[in-house]
């Protein structure tokens, strides 16, 4: 079962929910793996023990044009939808503009004389952390300046493989990196806060998930802060509210220290345990009767 923890807006508590949910699952002896898909700002590792063990490089293919073979026909340039091939017939000039390349393979397919080959270039890393010799956390990380984390996210998720529970900590927003993360998920948990910003961004995320036909529920973090508008909206829209995490400076403080709430403030452990049970019931509705 794959669960994505997402939020339209950053900083609503996605990482708080992901890491604590991971810990209660682990305490429950569930076969669980956490995947940090926020490859631009991965943070889950801050909350879990251990040093990264396996480190892999995520690469993309980059075309290389052999100018001795090239006939300067311009077909690769015509086929490139990203303006990544600079081409002039007169004066003869052909260059790959690497930062514009999307690794689609069109130029390679276009070339009739075999002048184009590909080299691999690094765009990010995957690292593995283990707890009791079992894989616990997979972290995707873009190299600073990499334009799109999508490939790194997809690779991180596939690296996780099959487990009873795979928790994906999704990147913020509603564009391609978010889609790439929620796409393989069986169920999406949206974390929000009861403020105008929180509601606005939640509405956008839910609109996206509805278009994708993804089942989803909402966790309200910092409940008690802000106002009632969010709750009214959830009722109006018929969106399932999975849990309330109260607004408590103690939680913020534990989080700021890079520690897990369920470990330092055991009073909150039942909140995450109940959340886990409810998510499992939602993701496998057939098993509850």
């Amino acid at each position: 079962m794959i669960i994505a923890i997402a939020s339209g807006k950053g900083g609503t508590g996605k990482t708080l929910v992901s890491t604590n949910l991971f810990q209660v699952s682990l305490d429950d002896r569930v076969d669980v793996v956490l995947v940090d898909c926020d490859a631009e700002e991965p943070n889950d590792a801050v909350f879990l023990p251990g040093e990264p063990k396996g480190m892999q490089t995520v690469t993309q293919q980059m075309p290389v044009i052999d100018k001795a073979v090239c006939t300067y026909c311009g077909r690769c340039h015509d086929w490139c939808s990203y303006n990544a091939i600079f081409f002039l017939r007169e004066p003869r000039r052909i260059d790959v503009l690497e930062d514009l390349c999307h690794d689609c393979g069109a130029c390679l397919a276009a070339c009739k004389v075999g002048a184009i080959t590909e080299k691999t270039v690094p765009i990010g890393t995957l690292s593995m952390r283990y707890i009791n010799k079992r894989p616990a956390l997979i972290e995707g990380r873009t190299l600073v300046g990499t334009a799109s984390p999508v490939k790194i996210i997809k690779q991180a998720i596939s690296e996780a493989g099959k487990h009873d529970l795979v928790i994906l900590d999704a990147p913020p927003g509603i564009s391609c990196p978010f889609i790439a993360t929620v796409e393989p998920a069986d169920y999406v948990v949206l974390v929000t806060e009861p403020t105008p910003f929180g509601l606005n961004d939640l509405a956008l995320s839910i609109e996206t998930l509805e278009q994708m036909g993804k089942p989803h529920g909402v966790v309200v973090n910092r409940a008690g802060l802000g106002d009632e508008a969010l709750y009214r909206w959830l009722v109006d829209k018929g969106v399932l509210q999975l849990a309330d995490i109260p607004f408590d400076r103690a939680i913020a403080s534990v989080y700021a220290e890079g520690k897990l709430v369920v470990k330092v403030l055991p009073a909150y452990k039942p909140v995450f345990q109940t959340l886990l049970d409810r998510i499992r019931a939602q993701a496998h509705p057939s098993t509850i009767a």
Partner: protein, 303 residues
């Protein structure tokens, strides 16, 4: 001929989301009094909630193209499937179908299709707006959920903002940047002179601060840091101070953990408007003054 003078572009960044970047941008907009403000967080735009803008102009943004397969023409040869590197074509009962959210618009499938069954249609559901609000001009956008190219949309609205600033003879552009370090962030940094990085005193905040500072260093912006919720964790705050000092980046404000920001937000106001005498407002005002002095901002209407 109009003399535009050098346009100063201040971009507010955070690395991590939820640090209070937008609230601080709104406070700065209030203090500037008359500026062009751009919400570059097109993925999850929020500033409009505080500004209640009056939209003057709505524009269409074509974010890219998506392939569609005409099943009546398709002969199910599978060539498109073999060529697609974005895993965007799947077989549904033997018929290749494009998964719109995965399609990158590279057009390769259409080019290799022997039957000409594939065409590309523009993704044109995103919008961007030119508006006015109580402290000047406001450029914002709404990216259609799941659409790409937020980086280019940021570029489009930045260009619109620059020309608005020139038309209105306004010398300061204030940009609320997107979170992260990716393409839209790079688009919002490109061309800016000054970066104000808003972070929060937490371990993950520190981690993200280092990442975003390494990015702005590449673009050689004059950079300043504001630490929000500094009292959440004094040790981390200290570590941030030390890190910034070593990186030669001045910390120009330390704002306490203050729920007043949320109260102001609920009332659709910036903190400076809602609680002008609060300790947080005081810190922001001082940070603003520091920015004005260090960057020689020509602030005519200083509130």
């Amino acid at each position: 001929m109009k003399d535009r003078g050098p346009l100063k572009e201040i971009v507010v960044l955070s690395g991590k989301g939820g640090t209070g970047k937008t609230s601080i941008t709104a406070a700065l907009a209030t203090l500037l009094g008359n500026s062009v403000v751009v919400d570059c967080d097109v993925d999850a735009a929020n500033l409009h909630l505080l500004f209640s803008p009056e939209v003057q102009e709505t524009n269409v943004f074509v974010s890219g193209h998506k392939a569609v397969i005409d099943s009546a023409v398709c002969n199910q040869c599978g060539r498109c499937l073999a060529h697609c590197r974005f895993d965007a074509i799947h077989l549904v009962d033997g018929q290749p179908v494009i998964k719109e959210t995965s399609c990158d618009g590279c057009q390769l499938c259409a080019r290799v299709c022997p039957e000409g069954a594939i065409s590309l249609i523009p993704a044109d559901k995103s919008r961007w707006y030119k508006s006015t609000f109580r402290y000047g001009h406001f450029i914002h956008a709404r990216l259609q959920p799941g659409e790409e190219n937020s980086g280019r949309l940021v570029r489009v609205i930045r260009e619109a903002a620059t020309s608005s600033a020139i038309d209105q003879q306004i010398g300061i552009l204030l940009l609320d940047g997107p979170p992260g370090t990716g393409c839209p962030v790079i688009s919002s940094i490109t061309g800016a002179n000054i970066a104000l990085v808003v972070t929060e005193a937490s371990k993950s905040g520190l981690h993200d601060l280092k990442r975003i500072l390494s990015l702005v260093a590449i673009y050689k912006l004059r950079t300043f840091v504001v630490i929000n919720k500094y009292d959440l964790n004094q040790a981390v705050c200290q570590e941030m101070d030390t890190f910034c000092e070593h990186s030669n980046v001045p910390v120009i404000g330390r704002i306490p953990f203050d729920p007043t920001f949320v109260t102001a937000m609920i009332h659709c106001q910036s903190l400076i408007e809602w609680a002008p005498a609060s300790p947080s407002a005081h810190v922001i005002r001082e940070a603003f003054q520091e920015l004005v002095e260090q960057c020689q901002l020509n602030v005519t209407q200083y509130r």
